[in-house]
């Protein structure tokens, strides 16, 4: 049996029920593997993520937080991308104040068929966080 990778970074993903969740599901269906220490909480829309939830994740020991954003596909309107971006910017400023590297909070638009993009993001983010730990 292979290693569970307990020394690997833990990433919390905020995904969205209608857009990025189907892509993450399809990544599984297609057996596109990514590190298992990626944990997912689904929301209706990525611009509903409260900064306090992100801060809570870091205070509880998560190494990184990733927002799998609706982007322009958001069923709730075109303003989603800008609004999610503003939340990220605001939260990154808060992280900076707390001495946490802002780049540990990432966001990318993951559309309902963007399975490969999601997997790539998870692999890259994990690699980045591993390098952060070792440096």
């Amino acid at each position: 049996m292979s290693s569970s990778g307990k020394d690997m970074p833990k990433i919390l993903v905020f995904s969205t029920e209608k857009i990025s969740d189907p892509a993450i599901d399809m990544a599984g269906l297609l057996k596109l593997h990514y590190p298992p220490r990626v944990y997912i909480i689904s929301l209706p829309c990525s611009s509903a993520v409260k900064p306090r939830w992100i801060l809570k994740a870091f205070s509880e020991g998560f190494d990184g937080v990733f927002i799998a954003a609706d982007g322009t596909d958001c069923p709730y309107g075109e303003s989603c991308t800008d609004k999610t971006g503003a939340i990220i910017k605001q939260t990154q400023d808060m992280l900076k104040e707390k001495g946490i590297e802002p780049a540990k909070l990432r966001m990318a638009a993951i559309c309902s068929i963007c399975s490969e993009a999601f997997v790539k993001q998870m692999k890259n983010f994990t690699e980045y966080l591993v390098n952060q730990k070792t440096n």
Binding site: P22, P36, L43, P44, K50, S112
Partner: protein, 642 residues
């Protein structure tokens, strides 16, 4: 807080338990405070398991339910219904996806998958502990369905929906209806041609008051969601006046000097820039292929019905559901693939057009054809290529074509280079009939297929025939017919606009191939026909009727029960800054004065539950049901607790 929670962990046959130690997950959560019962089950969705959950809720008076199984897109409704039947509000049920997001995603790491499954179930338990009971919200749904694609599947679905009293926008990208079936001059096992079938269906939809047909039309934008999709339709003109003179139009086609490859005849003939694919085609007006038209003006000299001033139109439509039936493309062989590129090698679709054009003698490229070699599974069941699937229709279509050649022409000899004939179901009688006609069947394995080569002016097909103990057999063929399979449409831009997921075969993907075969993960969008995967006409129509029924169920009452996931304001802490109202895309938040204090109020019938108001509230006075701080933060803590 819930303190009698039932936890059910599914093996999904082996889909989950092959990679996740389900018993370990069960034991890891059984002693968590509030968990009354933790059990594993072979199939949580099976009737017996549902009955067990039902009985447990009743007998043990469970106040919370966690099911850890496949994606909630598949079985959330199943277990919600079990909870409701047993008297437990369905919002006290939380689903953990440990198949798509755990066992399948991490099938390369069983230990990691098991640990992740434990954390996912712990997080679900943490979420359900804080859950509260809610009642659904009703919204109006447009009693209109957009059917995309006016092939046999789209037209049949449109007719069915219209007969049920639903208004249908039937949207076809081409200028003419019928899709691939219009290209068929004979249909297997029915005494009707494809063109006659299309004509019959067109007449039915044309006179139906509930159906509006758009040709030369495609959806370029989609917004909104189930019940109220907003679609933008681009309609390309035909450049022919509404009241046209048929005789003049015939002359216009005659005088048009432009000749381009005719897609309808799979490029074995040419057509004009002003064209109809065949005389009885519908709609009966020809169209001008503006991309290839040189604007020489010859047609205008003889025809008063030409109108180059017609402009592209954009229409905004609102529909309750979208039924997608956009069909397939035939596989196009690669250069040199089984001799493709030689002057006597054609595909099955081309061969069927050739048969239609030749009356007494079968002639191709000026030579009479007597010896025909059919090579099966070209572009299907590929060893090296992407198309691993069987295209289903081609064995039967080829054998039926062979019967027709024997009936229409004399002294035809046919050789079938196959990898196992798949004339499933009732189609087996066709295989039997061809065998009686004396056709020769030669079979090979996928790794050692037949080869086609030129020897002087002869075309030789060779195979090591496994039916005769790997004897190498050669056939000199007048014509080689490549039995090409189905592929997804090359131009699948509509799939990108609608964001319909595709499977490994690149066809559109249903939620579940057995239990929810025509629904997609995009609520309100259904799929039918060969856009979902290879199908014959019967199977396409079956799926079209199924998709029509599903779309009908979405729009028929004009009302949908939606999740009551909406925002609420803490009146004690809100001091009205207005940021939430600015953030709301639906104007669902208003300023009110309550007991002398300015506060925000949520209009429950307008709020869509997007949550955009949550993060902008500086006093954190807005929460959303199902996604409260307590629920999300408890889930985060549960996930972090390793």
């Amino acid at each position: 807080m819930k303190n009698k929670i039932g936890v059910y962990i599914c093996h999904c046959g082996g889909n989950i338990s092959d990679y996740v130690d389900v018993e370990k997950v069960r034991d890891a959560v059984k002693d968590i405070e509030g968990v009354e019962i933790s059990v594993d089950t072979m199939f949580a969705c099976a009737d017996s398991s549902q009955k067990q959950i039902f009985n447990d809720i009743k007998e043990k008076q469970l106040d919370g339910l966690v099911v850890a199984s496949c994606s909630p897109k598949l079985h959330y409704p199943t277990f919600s219904a079990v909870a409701e039947r047993a008297g437990l509000n369905k919002y006290n049920y939380v689903h953990a996806n440990i198949r798509e997001q755990v066992s399948w995603a991490h099938s390369d790491n069983k230990l990691g998958a098991t640990e992740k499954a434990i954390q996912a179930v712990k997080a679900a338990i943490a979420g359900v502990k804080e859950s509260i009971s809610l009642e659904p919200i009703k919204i109006k749904s447009q009693k209109i369905v957009a059917v995309i694609g006016a092939g046999v599947a789209g037209m049949r679905a449109a007719k069915e929906l219209a007969d049920l009293g639903v208004k249908v926008y039937l949207i076809e990208r081409e200028y003419f209806v019928g899709g691939r079936v219009a290209q068929l001059d004979y249909l297997c096992r029915v005494q009707e041609t494809g063109k006659e079938l299309v004509t019959r269906m067109y007449e039915a939809i044309h006179k139906h008051e509930n159906i509006t047909l758009f040709t030369g039309a495609e959806i370029i934008e989609k917004g909104g969601s189930i019940g109220n999709f907003k679609i933008k339709l681009k309609i390309t003109p035909r450049y022919i006046k509404k009241d046209c003179n048929e005789d003049e139009l015939k002359k216009a086609i005659e005088v048009c000097p432009v000749e381009v490859d005719d897609d309808f005849n799979f490029n074995i003939t040419k057509r004009k820039a002003i064209y109809k694919n065949y005389p009885s085609e519908y709609p009966q007006k020809p169209a001008i292929d503006i991309k290839n038209c040189t604007r020489c003006g010859e047609c205008e000299k003889v025809c008063s019905s030409i109108d180059f001033n017609q402009k592209e139109e954009i229409l905004d439509l609102t529909v309750g559901s979208i039924l997608t039936a956009t069909g397939f493309d035939p596989y196009r062989p690669k250069e040199n693939e089984f001799g493709w590129g030689l002057d006597n090698v054609v595909t099955l679709p081309q061969f069927r057009r050739i048969i239609n054009m030749c009356d007494d003698k079968l002639i191709y490229n000026g030579k009479e054809i007597k010896e025909i070699a059919y090579i099966y599974c070209v572009g299907s069941r590929q060893v090296d290529g992407e198309n691993k699937y069987c295209s289903r229709y081609c064995c039967t279509a080829t054998l039926y074509t062979s019967i027709l050649t024997h009936k229409k022409y004399k002294n035809i000899h046919a050789y079938h280079f196959n990898r196992g004939i798949r004339t499933y179901g009732k189609q087996e009688v066709i295989y039997d009939e061809v065998s009686q006609l004396g056709d020769i069947f030669l079979q090979s394995y996928e790794y050692d297929p037949a080869t086609v080569e030129k020897q002087g002016d002869k075309t030789i097909v060779k195979v090591k025939d496994i039916l005769t103990n790997n004897t190498e057999i050669e056939v000199e063929a007048d014509l080689v017919v490549l039995v090409t399979g189905m592929e997804p449409r090359k131009d699948n831009s509509i799939g990108d606009v609608l964001k319909i997921p595709k499977g490994r075969d690149r066809f559109y993907n249903e939620i579940h191939m057995k239990l929810r075969p025509v629904e997609t993960v995009i609520d309100g969008i259904t799929i039918a026909g060969a856009c979902q995967g290879p199908k014959n006409i019967l199977e396409s129509v079956n799926s079209a009727l199924s998709a029509a029924t599903k779309s009908y169920s979405i729009v028929n009452t004009g009302e949908l029960a939606l999740e009551p996931i909406i925002a609420s304001v803490n009146e004690d802490t809100c001091t009205w800054c207005g940021l939430c109202a600015d953030a709301c895309p639906y104007d669902a938040i208003e300023l009110i004065n309550k007991n002398g204090k300015d506060i925000a109020e949520i209009n429950k019938s307008v709020c869509k539950g997007c949550g955009m108001c949550l993060p902008v509230c500086e006093s954190d006075s807005i929460e959303m049901s199902g996604f409260t701080n307590n629920i999300i933060e408890n889930m985060i803590s549960a996930y972090a607790d390793i």
